[in-house]
């Protein structure tokens, strides 16, 4: 693999100044229609800042000339709940406005998606639109010529989206995907279980956090659920500890040196070791996936464990995997107990700031041979009205300007506040680095969780992956 890794990485060192004017819109948007007919009557609250809604434009195109029938093959991973329905509704609406467009929607669960997209991309036959997290994977796809630079196609409207979110999907100055969601990883916790253990306030330092874990354990409560089989949920712990201990500089140095042999990583490993020694995880956590009844989300959703380190998609999945409520309700309404959120605590003496985060977004990459309609559809999907509809589900945090306050889910408020104060959000490390390195990070972190390796050996294994990619 002859790669220009360094230049690519530097392009990816997307320091996300996410000054999104978010912050809990309260009930302001709660009455916005969520019905399928919404696009006909522009939402009363849609900010006027944007240009003519894309729907109109697409309509206009349809009126003028007969267009060749096209099918858009669209792979996404919103496989449950309200988002699954919303994506389907949007596709139907788009077809209604553009009768020559039909959709072939392929829905997969997160892990199943990764399995399925791999041979598909390797066979040089990318779908028209597919889930992307940016980072090393997207860079690989760019290098393989599987995705299309859409900078010119979207130049009219990409400015309507948060620049920080868009930058996640830029590679060497080109844009290859359009984001629809951006958020940050943090601790979701069960307030009732905290109360049972006599814990009044969430911890703000790592030592306090370890103390909380111990007190939960003493109270007979499983402190932490983690999806050890999927591995990436575990990697959040290591990533955050590195960030809190070494700050932004540490991550930049790791990327520049292409080596995890860094004091901050070693210290992070030692701190992680302290957590692991408390044996805080659910029974069988190494075989737990993220979703599912026996998964991390299931343990949280059924109130069997207290804490989960997860991104903005957490609450929706806790409700799904816990088997609560109807998909059209907000996660907090569905969950039978009260939950809260707190940022990953500071490590004493660490260089990182409490509001800096590990996070990332979801976007749709555009396949090399996708019809122009696919990009038009992305415009429709990320238009303010539709971004608001997505935000109202409480399952994602939309990135379209003017849609931020559509997030009425109260659980998201502290997360959004923290995000607004962030000066640096680092993309999940397993996505940030090339695939082989990301997988090695995940593998090695879980081995640390299982007490099967030391941080020194882990660093060696990760660096071997660096060397081979």
């Amino acid at each position: 693999m002859r790669r220009t890794r360094l230049t690519r990485l530097s392009a990816l060192l997307a320091v996300l100044a996410l000054v999104a004017g978010a912050c809990g819109g309260g009930g302001a948007a709660s009455d916005t229609s969520t019905t399928a007919a919404a696009e006909d009557t522009p939402s009363t609250e849609a900010p006027p800042a944007t240009e003519a809604p894309p729907a109109t434009e697409a309509d206009g195109g349809g009126d003028g000339e007969e267009r060749e029938p096209v099918t858009i093959e669209w792979w996404h991973i919103q496989n449950q709940g309200a988002m699954l329905e919303l994506w389907e509704t949007l596709a139907n609406e788009f077809t209604e406005m553009n009768p020559h467009v039909t959709f072939d929607i392929v829905v997969n669960e997160n892990e199943a998606f990764k399995d399925a997209i791999q041979p598909r991309l390797q066979s040089n036959d990318p779908p028209d639109l597919f889930q992307s997290w940016g980072g090393g994977d997207l860079a690989d796809q760019v290098e393989a010529g599987l995705v299309r630079d859409i900078s010119d196609e979207v130049s009219d409207w990409i400015g309507d989206l948060s620049a920080g979110a868009v930058s996640l999907f830029e590679v060497d100055g080109g844009l290859y995907a359009v984001p629809f969601d951006l958020g940050m990883v943090g601790f979701w916790y069960n307030k009732e279980l905290f109360a049972q253990a006599g814990i009044d306030a969430p911890p703000t330092t790592w030592d306090e956090f370890l103390d909380v874990v111990q007190r939960l354990k003493d109270a007979g409560i499983t402190p932490i659920a983690v999806g050890g089989q999927d591995r990436w949920p575990a990697h959040f712990y290591l990533a955050y500890l590195i960030l809190r201990i070494g700050g932004q500089e540490a991550i930049e140095e790791i990327a520049a040196n292409r080596s995890f042999d860094h004091p901050a990583v070693i210290e992070a490993g030692n701190q992680l070791q302290r957590l692991v020694e408390l044996e805080p995880f659910q029974e069988g956590f190494l075989a737990s996936t993220w979703p599912g009844p026996d998964g991390e989300a299931g343990w949280i959703g059924t109130g069997r464990a207290a804490i989960s380190l997860m991104g903005q998609w957490g609450p929706g999945e806790y409700a799904n995997s816990g088997g609560h409520g109807e998909p059209d309700q907000l996660p907090s309404e569905r969950l039978p107990f009260e939950m809260g959120w707190f940022p990953f605590p500071e490590v004493e003496g660490g260089a990182g700031d409490l509001n800096d985060g590990i996070g990332g977004g979801n976007g749709f990459a555009v396949g090399r041979d996708a019809p122009p309609e696919a990009v038009e559809f992305l415009r429709y999907l990320t238009s303010v009205e539709n971004a608001r509809r997505a935000g109202e589900t409480g399952a994602i945090l939309p990135v379209t300007k003017g849609a931020e306050n559509s997030v009425t889910e109260p659980l998201m408020v502290p997360l959004l506040e923290s995000l607004a104060q962030s000066e640096f959000v680092q993309l999940y490390l397993d996505q940030y680095f090339p695939a082989a390195v990301g997988e090695a990070i995940n593998d090695e972190t879980v081995k640390i969780f299982a007490g099967q390796t030391t941080i020194e050996d882990a660093i060696q294994a990760i660096d071997a992956a660096f060397a081979s990619s």
């Binding site: 693999m1 002859r2 399995d115 791999q118 041979p119 390797q122 040089n124 690989d140 290098e143 393989a144 010529g145 050890g228 089989q229 029974e283 069988g284 956590f285 190494l286 075989a287 737990s288 026996d294 695939a435 082989a436 997988e439 593998d443 879980v446 081995k447 969780f449 299982a450 099967q452 294994a461 071997a464 081979s468 990619s469």
Partner: protein, 330 residues
């Protein structure tokens, strides 16, 4: 234990006739064009999809290659060295050996015992045979999905153990609780749990093989042994077992080869986890080669798996099966 491959015929058809070409018009003569029509289609398909790929992989295994684009990043034997030094790949090889050894020491005697049992004049033995063999017909995917449900924490297996355990004399409730664990989630036991499921699926195959072998043993021999005063055990030990030798050795062969091929079941139950505790050579290949876009490395791993399996199979053929057959497979 084996995956999709079918039992091997090891016996050579009766005395091989010399390949000297007979005269035109005589039996055994066919013109070259006719022969080509007969043999070439199979040879082409076989060569293209079975032989060519592995030869091809010799070429790209010496490159660092993400599967797309040209082969430029020559690494020599680097991929082979990396694989052989990788603790994960070594563990995968080891796990395959564990499954092979357990198959030989537990599954084989179990299958043999049941074969002997069903060789008795037992009412309904046809039905028993049909049922015992049935799991062999199910796919490993189905087997894995169902057993994953059964083995999950607080699943059916746990409930059964909790209920039945304390009923065993001398086993306390506490001891049962001590014994309970996440069967697929504990790195210490997951491999054994999978072995159990593999046994569930494949013992029927070996039982049927051994049963056929048993039925091929003339009953006069056993009667003669009985007349000589041998007890049932002695008759089994000194008459049946030796005569069953060839079948047992073939069963063993299938188990060893099969152990090296396990993929589907592991992939749908544990995906090689927890923390690599059930990684097999095949899951390692898919995970680390295919899944990480490392096709050059994957090619090297393929060749290593190929070499390990071939050496083992040929070794076994030469030193164990040789007694049974002349000029067996290769």
């Amino acid at each position: 234990m084996q995956t999709q491959s079918q039992p091997t015929r090891v016996s050579q058809p009766s005395a091989p006739t010399p390949s000297r070409r007979p005269l035109r018009g005589a039996p055994g003569y066919a013109s070259w064009p006719t022969l080509a029509v007969l043999v070439l289609p199979a040879l082409v398909v076989y060569g293209l999809f079975v032989i060519y790929p592995i030869v091809q992989s010799l070429r790209f295994s010496v490159y660092n290659w993400n599967g797309l684009g040209p082969l430029t990043d020559w690494v020599g034997l680097g991929n082979f060295v990396e694989a052989l030094n990788s603790p994960d790949f070594r563990a995968a090889i080891f796990h395959c050996f564990v499954i092979a050894v357990l198959s030989l020491t537990l599954q084989l005697p179990f299958a043999l015992a049941l074969a002997v049992l069903l060789n008795q004049k037992l009412a309904g033995r046809g039905l028993f045979r049909t049922m015992f063999f049935a799991p062999y017909v199910l796919s490993e995917v189905v087997t894995g999905v169902v057993w994953r449900q059964l083995l999950r924490p607080d699943g059916m297996v746990d409930r059964v153990i909790e209920t039945v355990g304390p009923l065993i004399p001398g086993v306390s409730e506490a001891a049962v609780q001590e014994f309970m664990r996440p069967w697929l989630g504990d790195p210490g036991v997951a491999l054994y749990s999978l072995f159990f499921v593999l046994t569930w699926k494949y013992f029927g195959l070996h039982m049927v093989l051994l049963l056929a072998g048993l039925q091929g043993i003339p009953s006069e021999l056993k009667e003669a042994a009985a007349i000589d005063g041998a007890g049932p055990w002695q008759a089994f030990r000194h008459v049946t077992l030796p005569l069953l030798g060839p079948t047992i050795r073939i069963s063993m062969f299938l188990m060893i080869i099969g152990s090296f091929h396990v993929f589907d079941l592991v992939w749908v139950t544990t995906r090689g986890g927890p923390v690599g505790a059930t990684q097999t050579m095949a899951t390692y290949l898919i995970d680390f080669g295919f899944g990480r876009n490392r096709f050059g490395y994957g090619g090297a791993v393929s060749i290593l798996i190929f070499a390990i399996s071939m050496v083992l199979a040929l070794f076994y053929q030469r030193f164990v099966l040789r007694r049974d057959v002349e000029g067996a497979l290769t």
